[in-house]
């Protein structure tokens, strides 16, 4: 009996670890390939250590895309979008969680109903609207439609219901705080860990967003990193090493964020989920 259970433990560990290797090995390839030339990437037998082509790859990448500018664009767009998402969603979520007002149910139901309509069905009108507002190819064109994620309000409402106690709000009112003061001085501080956790997930989504920026951003200096990378792809001989280096660079900010704020990251994934 004892022997049987240790051997089954070994099998369990073995499966888990083989899985980990399968999942992390492509990432390892991404990193080493960004140091290799095309002939090294396709050499036989395969070269599984970093190569010496880093500088060539980087200068090639700088020819193909505006590396520094596109990273700044992504950082700027992500920062503004996430701050806006958290602010608007928590404010509306607070109203839905803690107040009774006329039209509350209908307004909330409307929000949930539109969640079923895919963004792709509305992307063409959005494109036309942006052109007519003269906002095509601007930061605003990327940021504005991203500011109002319906599920953000939904998650915020759930979290505020669970975390912020009514006594706290009543105490604030007794102390003469305005409703806005209650939001700023009571709700937001209590909500901080949730905001951090959701912020991570929103940041990841915005940073890696591809479909809409690809459509609305057109000039070299306005692109986000992901769109700039995708635009390098073409029918001609592709600079694989440079593409991998660009991919690696685009991953770094998120990876750093993750290493420092891992706890929030994992929590953010399961906010409002099923336990």
């Amino acid at each position: 009996m004892k022997i049987k259970s240790t051997s089954s433990n070994i099998v369990i560990y073995l499966i888990i670890i083989i899985g980990v290797i399968i999942f992390l090995f492509p990432l390892y390839l991404l990193i080493i390939w960004s140091f290799q030339s095309t002939s090294e990437i396709f050499s036989f037998p395969p070269k599984l250590i970093p190569g010496s082509n880093f500088i060539e790859n980087f200068s090639m990448l700088r020819i193909k895309m505006d590396v520094y500018r596109t990273i700044l664009n992504s950082v700027f767009i992500t920062t503004i979008t996430v701050i806006g998402q958290l602010f608007f969603a928590s404010l509306a979520g607070f109203a839905f969680a803690k107040y009774t007002f006329k039209g509350k149910r209908i307004l909330f139901a409307l929000l949930i109903a539109t969640m079923t309509i895919p963004f792709q069905a509305t992307v063409i009108p959005l494109y036309i609207i942006m052109q007519k507002l003269n906002l095509g190819n601007t930061y605003a064109s990327v940021i504005l439609p991203g500011l109002t994620p319906a599920f953000g309000v939904f998650l915020m409402r759930q979290s505020i219901k669970q975390i912020v106690h009514n006594d706290l709000i009543d105490a604030g009112r007794l102390d003469g705080a305005t409703e806005f003061g209650i939001y700023f001085r009571i709700v937001l501080p209590v909500l901080k860990p949730t905001l951090a956790a959701l912020g991570m997930i929103f940041a990841l989504g915005t940073w890696n967003n591809f479909f809409w920026p690809l459509i609305i951003l057109t000039t070299r200096e306005m692109l986000t990193v992901t769109v700039a990378l995708a635009n390098i792809l073409g029918v001609y001989e592709m600079p694989y090493g440079a593409l991998m280096l660009g991919s690696f660079i685009s991953l770094l900010p998120i990876l750093v964020l993750f290493l420092f704020l891992q706890k929030y990251f994992i929590r953010g994934l399961t906010v409002g989920s099923f336990r």
Binding site: S5, N9, I16, G19, F23, L24, P26, L27, L29, L30, W33, F42, P45, P46, F87, L91, A92, F94, F96, Y99, F101, K104, L107, L111, T116, I117, P118, Q120, A121, T122, V123, I124, P125, I129, L144, P145, A150, R173, L204, N208, F210, F211, I215, T226, L229, A230, G234, V235, Y240, S247, F248, L251, I254, F258, Q262, I266, T270, S273, F274, R275
Partner: protein, 298 residues
């Protein structure tokens, strides 16, 4: 007198009656302009043929009949069903298996394992797509490792599975995290009671674990259905779809890429909107059916 009035108004505006409207209005104003108005506009568009940006002719259901007459669009919808089914079965099975193994009592370092599986989710679709398109080249590393000569990216048989591998690589770790959270919520005494009754591991999994995961499973099924129907980035990048077919004979084409091509390569805006609405209706129907079946089966 005047100052008193002003404070009254301010108190009224910031009081509990009006405050909730003030709180929701920034969100709802933005959402009305960039979320709701495009939906209405898009319905209108799907019944029109747009000529330039300012002129549009009403064409009735012409755009919708076109959706069902064009071979590549039909193929895109067929592919999307394939993607959705494989997405559901593949991702959920693998993620559930790994999550259950990691959560078994004897395993240490649970957190580290979960995070290791999750890390690929942080790689963007674009980076992942480029990475795997190199890996799957005919003279690429995968064929070297397997000692095979499979034309992964140039075969109508392999094009969709390759896309699914890229999608799975990025998302299975996410589902492992989600399933793990749900597994941790199952009380230990459920399993202890079953042990006393003499249940084996498989029976415990079948009669305790699976039923306890009902809600999260429905969530996973619905999200993976939507994900499969609405694929864009992975096939677009892996097959460098700009100005070219998506996979050999469009075998990896998706409805969303069809929308993109119709609108921004061929400038058939009304037609593109119609594809979008057919996709929306199929998505809503499919997920609605799933939710209802799930509820009935209780």
């Amino acid at each position: 007198m005047f100052t008193l009035k002003a404070t009254n108004i301010r108190q009224y505006l910031t009081g509990p009656k009006i405050a909730p409207y003030v709180f929701i209005s920034p969100f709802y104003i933005l959402w009305a302009i960039f979320g709701v108005f495009p939906i209405v506009y898009s319905i209108w568009l799907s019944f029109h043929r747009v000529v330039g940006i300012y002129k549009a002719d009403f064409v009735g259901f012409y755009n919708f009949t076109e959706v069902f007459l064009r071979e590549d669009v039909i193929k895109a919808f067929y592919n999307s069903i394939w993607y959705a089914v494989v997405n559901i079965i593949g991702q959920i099975t693998i993620a559930l298996l790994v999550a259950v193994l990691i959560n078994s009592k004897c395993v240490k370092l649970k957190g580290l394992f979960r995070i290791s599986y999750y890390i690929p989710n942080m790689v963007s679709t674009v980076a992942a797509g480029i990475l795997f398109s190199i890996l799957f080249q005919t003279n690429g590393l995968l064929n070297m490792a397997l000692n095979t000569n499979i034309t992964w990216l140039h075969s109508t048989f392999w094009s969709k599975p390759v896309v699914m591998i890229v999608v799975g690589w990025r998302w299975i770790g996410y589902w492992i995290i989600i399933f793990s959270a749900a597994l941790q919520g199952i009380p230990d005494f459920f399993y202890e009671a079953a042990s006393i009754d003499g249940a084996n591991s498989f029976q415990k999994f079948w009669y305790i674990t699976l039923p306890s995961l009902r809600h999260v499973m429905l969530f996973a099924v619905v999200i993976n259905t939507i994900g499969g129907f609405q694929l864009f980035g992975e096939p677009y990048i892996v097959f460098t779809a700009k100005q070219s077919p998506v996979g050999p004979l469009n075998s990896a084409l998706t409805p969303v890429i069809a929308i993109y091509k119709a609108a921004f390569e061929n400038f058939e805006l009304g037609f593109a909107a119609a594809i979008g609405w057919v996709l929306a209706i199929i998505t809503i129907l499919a997920t609605g059916v799933q939710i209802n079946l799930w509820k009935k089966e209780r």
